[in-house]
Amino acid sequence: MRKFLVALMVVFAILSLAKTTIVFWHHEAPAHRVAAFQKVIKLFEKENPDIKVIQQVVPWGDAWTKTLAAIQSGTTPDFQFSIPELTITAYLANAIVPVDDLIKEIDSKYKYIKSQLAPYKFNGHYWGIPIWTMPMILLYRPSYLKKYLGTTEPPKTWDELLLAAQKITLLSSKEGETIYGIGLTAGDNLCTQEQVYTIMSNVGVKVFDEKGNLTFNKPETWRAVEFYKDLYKFSPPGSTGWAWGEIEMNFTAGKIAMMPYFGGLQKRFYEMKNYDLDGAPQPYPVDGKEANLIYPNDVHIFKSAVEKGHLEAVKKFILFMMRPDINAILTAEMEPGSFVPVTEAAQKSDQYWNNPVIKTFKHLNEVIIRATNYGTLYGFEHGYAANLAIGSISGANVIAEMIQKVVTGEMGVKEAVKWAESKMESFLK
């Protein structure tokens, strides 16, 4: 018996030594997101018994400091979920490896939506692998449009949007109700930045030119900021202090009729059994273009994975995550409407469309999927990162601060845009 136990321990030790353990960080702290990651890990480990995967949660608020601290102390995980700004930070800190081969492989197997790759290409290489994306579209409450505009057709142009927002605000007020035509924020935060940029993208605002020189202080930017300012008049009071929580609560509570936003709110509507929700492409001026903000989320691989000999295991896991049936767990199952597939195969997969939330709001999700093709992100308008200072510019919320100055009356439109460009300039130095 004793010999048997010793033999068993030896076998166990050999087996555990043979197993490769890879560690990744992500920043999705809510319990259901952690559970979705664990589900993917479990399925992967079942298919790959020689690899053990460990997820570690680092909340978004700590993501930058912990990443930089880990790089400095040499304690990075093998790979990490990220967004363009964080990937640029890790790249500038000389801590990650190029992933061109993986991009090529995934593209040939599942066909990447090209717009999603742009934020991860700099200096001729890809440094992040998009896993899912977050497109901003025009969310609206069809019943409000019907009641106050006499149609369920959402506005298509800037003029129509402004008029619709004005009509809903004024007519509802006449009836003694407090419904605002549009939901816009002007807080000093990312939420504002993203809403503003969605408007900017409609008139082709570019932060940098192709060579990375600042090109923000231009007539198209003035035009977009002016429009945001006009539209903002029909947004709820107090939204200069708003972030994600407030705008979502106000929209859900029925105080807002339309807003440029991510589609993730559908999950809350589904849970409340409220089906008064739909989406449309972001309206644009007649001489503008269909465009919206996208936020592709990627994974980047740290050099430490190569040093530890974990690179192959990491690549295997990433390829596994991109399999359409698995990708549906990380998108439709984890955050339906908010996290959206970035490959054509995953966007068409049954696993994605059979999700009960996605199925319930089918039209809204079709709009969201369509928006992934027209998406762009500030600083990456040329299909690559024209200037890596965009990470710091975004982190400092320069665009949000600029809008605050305009809507609070502290500065005029042109003055604020000029101020923003000079602030951006300081990051370039």
Binding site: W64, T65, T67, L68, A69, I71, Q72, T89, L92, A93, T178, A186, G187, D188, N189, P236, P237, G238, S239, T240, G241, W242, E246, M249, N250, A253, K255, S392, G395, A396, N397, E401, Q404, K405, T408, E410, F427
Partner: protein, 287 residues
């Protein structure tokens, strides 16, 4: 070295470790051009300090805002606790119950306070807005209005501090001998005169102490402001601690953030020193 010195040595070492080492490190970083995580640091002398005072468009306004923040907080945090303490001074059942209830804001964590007030004061779906609308008033945008956000935050911060000040004042009031009041009454002193000539001088030391604490804590307030407004709208609540945080953890400019922290520390030390020298009740008493 005598035995007494040996006994306090561990405490001295510990105190040095947790105060002197970070201070020295902060001062050293303030003389460097450093972007955390990006390459090597470079010595640049006083350049960070010069930049703060000459080129940085946010530093001086945030410093000024910090002083304003302290002034407003002190005003509320000294007067209200004093008034509440005077009201609750008498020992009866109602006052005993009130003394317990008044403590509630003090025991709540600042994170909870921030979230609760942020939602209570949300103009469209918050409860305060609902109450105002129900009496026919419009709800102002407490945190979205440049003119209101700062003062609203002062009130919330003070709401949290008031119980602490009240308890200290109540404790001080209980030490004033009743015989003094009785004697003053016999001499014909009214309530106001009794307060000015007996109560105030007798609890002066406590007021002095509460003011010092309120100053230090207010000047360093970060969590409440960051959680509610992040320094906005349009920088109207951007005080020095919030700006230092932004410099360090949003822009990664640790050198400049360290320089701003050194300035902040020097200000606190200078004010504390002046406060002890000029306003110390001990000095008053020895005159």
């Amino acid at each position: 070295m005598n035995r007494g010195m040996l006994l306090i040595l561990p405490v001295v070492i510990l105190a040095l470790l947790i105060t002197a080492v970070p201070l020295v490190n902060m001062t050293y970083k303030s003389l460097q051009k450093t972007m955390f995580g990006f390459g090597k640091e470079r010595f640049i002398g006083l350049e960070n300090y010069v930049n703060l005072f000459t080129k940085d468009e946010d530093f001086l306004p945030s410093l000024w805002r910090s002083f304003l923040w302290v002034f407003e907080n002190l005003l509320v945090q000294l007067t209200i606790p004093m008034l509440i303490a005077l009201l609750l001074q008498e020992n009866n059942l109602f006052n005993r119950l009130s003394r317990t209830l008044v403590l509630i804001p003090w025991i709540l964590p600042l994170v909870v306070i921030s979230v609760v007030w942020r939602w209570l004061l949300e103009p469209n779906i918050g409860y305060v807005g609902y109450l105002l609308r129900s009496v026919g008033l419009n709800s102002p945008s407490f945190f979205g209005n440049k003119a209101l956000a700062f003062h609203t935050l002062v009130l919330i911060n003070s709401w949290h501090f008031i119980p602490f000040g009240t308890i200290l004042m109540l404790a001080a009031l209980s030490t004033v001998p009743q015989s003094l009041y009785d004697a003053a009454k016999v001499d014909g002193a009214g309530a106001f005169q009794r307060f000015i000539y007996i109560t105030f001088p007798m609890i002066g030391r406590t007021i002095w102490f509460v003011a010092l604490l309120a100053f230090m804590w207010s000047f360093n307030t970060f969590d409440l402001i960051w959680l509610i407004t992040e320094g906005g709208p349009a920088d109207s609540t951007l005080t020095l601690p919030v700006y230092i945080y932004k410099l360090a953890f949003k822009m990664y400019n640790y050198g400049k953030a360290s320089a701003a922290s050194v300035v902040s520390t020097l200000i606190l030390i200078a004010v504390a020193y002046a406060y002890f020298k000029v306003f110390s009740p001990k000095k008053e008493g020895t005159r």
